[in-house]
Symmetry: C2
Subunit: 374 residues, 2 copies
C-alpha cells in the first residue's frame, strides 16, 4: 500500500528512526553498565520490542496485563508488570506464567503482600515480586527508609512460591524538570533511592538481585547507574515533542507522526482544519510545560521533512484539529492535502491507534499491530 | 458475568439511564417540532443508537466513515457524515451507498464541490450534499452571508447524481457558555444562521429540504427551532460532568462511568492511585472551565450511588489516576477496592474503550461493542 492509499487519520512509524533510537539507548545503557529493560507501554508492538531488545537481554516492562499477554503471545518471556498488582489480577499473571513466561509483579502495600502470601502455596510456579520505591514523584512506592519496606520483604520471603526479586522505582517527576541539570539531579535521586532501598533489604538478609529504575529522561541524562541492575525507559523508542523539549532527543529522532488530511481551509481565519482531533492526537498537552506552542502537536508537510512555518495544532475537537501558524502556506494546502502531526506525547497519541503504518523512504511498507485495552 | 468479574479499567453503561436520556431528548425535539437525528459519535454503539432513534425517524449522524460503516452493518441506512468530505474519502461513501444506505456528506469548499461534480457522472447512486454553515464557533463552515454559499449550491445543483440536501451547522461554542442565558443566545444564533443560509439558497432557487443544527446544549436550551428541520445532539445519550456543569443534565443522568481498582493507598499523601489513567479516562479536562475541581473525573463508590466525599481524579499518568479529596475514606478503600469515575467528557472517555459493560441493578448484564478507528 502506498502512503497515498493510507486512510487518514493514521499513525505512521519510521522504522529506521526507531532502530536508531533503540541502538542509541542500548549503547548508552551498556556504557552505564546496566541492563536495558525497554518499557513497551509506549510502543505496544512486538516489532518495536524486537528492535528495542536487540543487543540486550530480552526482558521488557509493560503497564497492563493486556500488553503482557500480547508480548507473551509474541515470544517475550521475561516481563515486568510495572504497575502495582491487585489480588484480582493475580489469576491472569499466573496464567501467563503457566505459558512459560516469567512475569515479575510489583507492590508497595503490606496488605497486598499478605494476600499474595496467603494464596502462594497454591501457585504452580514461583512468582517474582518487586517492591516499589518512591524516589520523589510521590506517585506509587514506599520511601526508601519506610518501616514497611522490610516488613513487606519479610512477608514475601516467608511465603512459598514467592521470590523477592528486588526493588523498582520510576522518576516520573523528571518530566517536569526545566533543564538538564535538574534531570541529572532527579536521575541521581532515582538511583540513590533504589540503591538505598536495596541496601536496606540486603542488610536485613534479602538477596535483592534486581535494582530497577528509569524513565527516558533519567536514562538519557544519568551520570551514574552505580548499584542499579537495570533501567526501564520507554518513550525513547518513539520520542515526541515533550522529550525534545526536555532535551532528550532532536526533532529528527521523533519516529511517529499522525498522517492527516486538510478538511477545511480558512485563510480569513488564519486556520486550517485537519481530520485529526482529540481521538487521533489525544488531548495530552504535557509538552507545553517547556515548549510554549507545542499545542497538540507540530504540523509538518506530508513527508515530514520540514515543519510548516510555525504550524501547530492549537486546539482539538473530537475529529477536528485546528491548525494555526504565522505563515501557513494556504496555496499549498487545499482541502484534501496531507500533513503529518508530530505528537505532543507519543505514549498517549500512539495509544489512540490500533496499528502503525510503517514508512521507509516516504512509502508505507508494512503495518504493525499494537496491543490494546486492558 | 457479575460486575465483580469485570476486569478493570472498564467502561460501564447504565442502560436505564441511556433509555431515559434518549426518551427525554425525543420528547424535547417533538415539542420543538423538529426531527431528532442523534449524533452517534459519542456512543458509537448500535444498541445505544436503537434507544436514541426509538420514536424518531431513524436517521443518525456520525463523525467518521468507520462509524458510518459500522452503523450500516447494523441496519441504519440514513446517515449524515457530519465532518467535511475530502475527495479521497468518496469511494468509501459510495461503497456504503451501494449497500443501500443513504450517506449525506458535507462541504464548505468550492474546490471540493467542483471535485465532487467532476466525479459525479460516474456515480451509481445519488449523493446528498449538505453545505456546512458557521454559526459562531468558527470551526468549519461558511458564514450564512458568504458569497461562496450560492456558488457551491450552483456547482452541486448542476451536477448529475449530486443532490443539494440543504445546510448544516453546529454550535460547538455552546460548550463555552457560562450560563443558560448564554446557551439560549447561542442556540438562537445557531438556528438563525442555518435558517438564514437556507433562505438564501431557496431565494436562489434551491429547494434546501434539510436545515440541520444542534449540539446537546443548544438542543436542551433552544427556545425555538423555527425553520430547522432537524437537530443533531449526541452527548445527551451518555452525559458527563461537562454537560452537568453547563446545566444540561443532573448528576444522576450521567450514564457512563469507568470502573477502576485502587492500586495504591497513601493516606500520608492524602491520595489513592487507581488503575484508570489517561488511557482509560482520556486527558480531556474541558469540564473544568465551569466546574472547578472536575479534574479528570469525579470518583464515586463502586456502585456509583454516591460520590466519595469530594473525591476527584486530580492528575493522570498513562495507567495511573491520582485520586484526592477532602476526606477520602481510606479505611474503606484498601488496595483492590473498586470505584467508578464519572467522565469529564464522555465522548472522549468512551472512545478509549472498545466496549461497554452494561449494568442494571448493580450487575453487569451485557457487553455492547463500540465502533472504533477511522
Amino acid at each position: 500500500m502506498g502512503l497515498a492509499d493510507v486512510r487518514t487519520p493514521a499513525l505512521l512509524l519510521d522504522r529506521a528512526v526507531v532502530a536508531r533510537n533503540a541502538a542509541a539507548m542500548t549503547a548508552r545503557m551498556a556504557r552505564l553498565g546496566v541492563r536495558l529493560r525497554p518499557h513497551l507501554k509506549t510502543a505496544k508492538c512486538a516489532q518495536v520490542a524486537a528492535l528495542a531488545t536487540a543487543g540486550n537481554f530480552g526482558g521488557i516492562a509493560v503497564s497492563t496485563l493486556a500488553e503482557a499477554a500480547y508480548f507473551v503471545e509474541h515470544g517475550f518471556n521475561d516481563i515486568t508488570y510495572a504497575v502495582a498488582i491487585v489480588p484480582a489480577k493475580l489469576d491472569e499473571v499466573l496464567a501467563l506464567q503457566d505459558r512459560g513466561a516469567r512475569i515479575a509483579i510489583a507492590t508497595d502495600d503490606p496488605a497486598t503482600a499478605a494476600a499474595l502470601a496467603e494464596r502462594a502455596p497454591a501457585f504452580a510456579t514461583t512468582l517474582n515480586v518487586l517492591i516499589e520505591i518512591d524516589c520523589g514523584q510521590h506517585r506509587a512506592g514506599l520511601a526508601p527508609e519506610a518501616e514497611t519496606l522490610p516488613a513487606i520483604a519479610r512477608i514475601l520471603d516467608a511465603a512459598p512460591n514467592l521470590a523477592l526479586e528486588g526493588v523498582m522505582t520510576h522518576a516520573g517527576h523528571a518530566y517536569h524538570c526545566g533543564d538538564v541539570t535538574a534531570i541529572e539531579r532527579v536521575a541521581e535521586d532515582e538511583r540513590a533511592a533504589a540503591v538505598r532501598a536495596a541496601e536496606r533489604l540486603r542488610a536485613a538478609g534479602h538477596a535483592c538481585p534486581t535494582v530497577s529504575a528509569g524513565s527516558t529522561p533519567t536514562a538519557v541524562f544519568a551520570r551514574s547507574a552505580e548499584g542499579l541492575t537495570e533501567m526501564r525507559p520507554g518513550v525513547y523508542t518513539l520520542f515526541d515533542l515533550q522529550q525534545m523539549a526536555l532535551g532528550c532527543c532532536r526533532l529528527e529522532d521523533i519516529a511517529v507522526s499522525v498522517l492527516a488530511t486538510v478538511v477545511g481551509r480558512y485563510p480569513e481565519r488564519g486556520r486550517l482544519l485537519i481530520d485529526a482531533g482529540s481521538l487521533a492526537l489525544s488531548a495530552d498537552t504535557g509538552a507545553n510545560e517547556f515548549l510554549a506552542g507545542a499545542g497538540y502537536g507540530w504540523v509538518m508537510d506530508g513527508t515530514a521533512a520540514r515543519r510548516l512555518d510555525g504550524a501547530t495544532v492549537v486546539d482539538v475537537n473530537q475529529e477536528h484539529g485546528f491548525v494555526e501558524g504565522a505563515a501557513l502556506p494556504f496555496d499549498d494546502l487545499p482541502v484534501g492535502a496531507r500533513v503529518r502531526v508530530l505528537p505532543n506525547h507519543a505514549c498517549i497519541t500512539a495509544a489512540m491507534h490500533d496499528r502503525y503504518h510503517v514508512v521507509e523512504g516516504g512509502e508505507a511498507v508494512d503495518v504493525w499491530e499494537r496491543a490494546k485495552g486492558w
